[in-house]
Symmetry: C2
Subunit: 462 residues, 2 copies
Amino acid sequence: MITPYTPVSSNTLEQLVAIVGLDQLSTTAAELDLHSRDAGHHPAHQAEVVVWPSTPEQVAQVLALANAQRIPVTPWGVGTGLEGNAIPLYGGILLSLERMTRIVEVHADDFQVTVEAGLPHKDLNEKLARYGLFFPPDPGANATIGGMLANNAAGIRTVKYGATKDNVLRLQVALADGRLMWLGSRSIKQASGYNLMQLIVGSEGTLGVITQATLKLVPVPRYMSAIIAGFPSVEQAVETVVAVRGSGIDVAALEFIDETNTRALNQAGTDIAPHPTLLMEIHSAHEATLEADMAIVREICEEAGALSFRATADLAERKTLWNARHHAYETLVRNHPNQRIFIMDVAVPISAYPELIAYARQVIDEHGIVGYMKGHAGDGNIHVELPYGDEATFEKVKAVNGAIVLKAIALGGTSTGEHGVGIGKAAYMAAEHGTALDVMRTIKHALDPNGILNPGKVFPSS
Amino acid sequence: MITPYTPVSSNTLEQLVAIVGLDQLSTTAAELDLHSRDAGHHPAHQAEVVVWPSTPEQVAQVLALANAQRIPVTPWGVGTGLEGNAIPLYGGILLSLERMTRIVEVHADDFQVTVEAGLPHKDLNEKLARYGLFFPPDPGANATIGGMLANNAAGIRTVKYGATKDNVLRLQVALADGRLMWLGSRSIKQASGYNLMQLIVGSEGTLGVITQATLKLVPVPRYMSAIIAGFPSVEQAVETVVAVRGSGIDVAALEFIDETNTRALNQAGTDIAPHPTLLMEIHSAHEATLEADMAIVREICEEAGALSFRATADLAERKTLWNARHHAYETLVRNHPNQRIFIMDVAVPISAYPELIAYARQVIDEHGIVGYMKGHAGDGNIHVELPYGDEATFEKVKAVNGAIVLKAIALGGTSTGEHGVGIGKAAYMAAEHGTALDVMRTIKHALDPNGILNPGKVFPSS
């Protein structure tokens, strides 16, 4: 790969040491390797140096240095991304936020918390438990808050609580030229000037590096219940999704798993009949509401022809269910030894969900490969998991991926609902965004004229 | 005012006629006057021509023409803004969306609707009634969807349903240079590239003109109840707000009115004791939930020392209450004949609400003027209404406004929760945003290099 960038020199390393200190930087093969790949299928690529700043000011100073010398900088949370979002494609500086994990302040009365960007969200929620509050977005993996913001991560509770973008009030961001700024405010309502905060959220580290954030929290619900319902067809399952949402019941999770995936979940401890299945969760402030909600959901499922319906408020049983759901991927990996899994992510308007799933099944079958489907149906988000063990199968997997992505766009949806663009979806940006992609380029150039921030991501290389 | 812009020539008028047609443009004094002021206190200023495009393409062509000739363009919805957001400060073209009021498509199964930007939100909701769906943001006045998006309008239901920014999925926008583009998608979840949509939302027509939008809708709740509770002190009322939100109950409105405002509401038909008062509304999918929610809210109010608590599910009574709340401003106007009302709008973290209100009361008293307070307490948003009838009082009103705005910013809040920056808040942008204001300028320059779009707004003039 030919790069327009400057290699990291020993002189640069000395300057970096002067900023962050000797213990906060490494050029060892082990560290470069550890920070060369994420949890997805994209090939590894190493940076030239890993730097762990410990303050926002250090982040800003590293950026100012890199910008002056035209050295690429790739921000890193904890490497749980799936689309190569944090792989340092052009070498340079891997800017890890791993050591910036402080809770700066809990604003308990405001249901807010200000944290450093490197704090993993599960660690945050453990520490918030004593306040009876939690940060709802949950992508499954223990991603950092900064990574979740940079990629606008979502997950199973988005149908009720929104994606990461919906749960942030204020961001501290270091720009490519080393300016450090706060965006937004601690007020829930904001109508003051351009929403630069939402421009940075989801920009995958290509416009600035998130150093701190003030997040919205919600009270831990007092009552929760899980529901498992099996259906004769995908269409009936999706019809149920539309009806549940139309009922006005504010479900906290509304997950679809296909027949093949029920088996993977059962290996992880559940006992689900092999049908197109909906997993739901309802959160409530009081028991009466929970029971009333459950009764309505049961009625809707039965009207849609559900083959089975099981509801449980039992904590252990709920934990088993959601652990199985969260670890379905690992189960899949174990079921396909010596293979890798390509996880694709698209999202469509809910009415197009059956058509998308039918199309995906058809394309998978036509290519003679194996595919599992599960998704956040309440949001129209689907993940297709495609195992491959050799180059020929990988080519088919990529073809299937491309066909499904274009279908999702054609159905009024998007090439990525929650994994972000990274490397993997860059090729589809023009098809999805048209003129808007040119405007994204204009903004990228205005804020990062030397192109040092996470190069090779979001934009197609042409 | 010295302007760097080109006056509208007879040649330009002919070119405009060629784009929109003879009936879609006016230079009459009556039309120029009608489009020279909004509903707030800012002085009127006339455009040179009012243009009513009837398609997004015409909007784009008008912009391309204006951009080539460096003629300012001020987009106009229906003129219900309060901060001069749509006043054509530099003359030029007043681009009215008033004739673009089509519902393009109702996507009922997806709880979405695509509309033209000039459609007023109440008209939209009337037409949506037969689908059992509605667009929740409600600023009170019958603002257009485009105006609500451009200013990120909010209102009394924001505490449950979010502001306008939270209820949009897709925007069609015409840029200053005449490019027409779609931003976002009809998928609820989106993680694909920069969030240009949220950059445009709230940019008050200074980055582009919104021509169409796909909005999120929600099912009309089957059961609704209103609650009125009076408290001995503002502190106890706000303590209740925090407790209600902490209970996990998803209130649909959580309004604060001060003692002076209870009287104005009573003139409009309510019967509320003169105390710091909370007005609440609860929406629910079933009766049992509503009752359970109401019982908890009653308990919280009583624990906080409420002097009175009244709940009603009666439709007529609820209508009277919310009509009175919505028309409190008109009542105020009637109570102050020959005066104008300066309505200010700031928002703070909820924990800072009592301090802000106490400070506002103190500053109002120190200046020897009259002030009424009401606000969307669930969001930390407060409106102070300051009547004035002469220049000397107006100067005091402006001083009070400035002091309260700076206090709100100092408390971690914002200079505007829902009215936008317009002309009135531009002077506070540097204090609120610091470096971020420079970045806003960079983006403005990148997208509108000739500065034709709504000049004189958002940015301080220095």
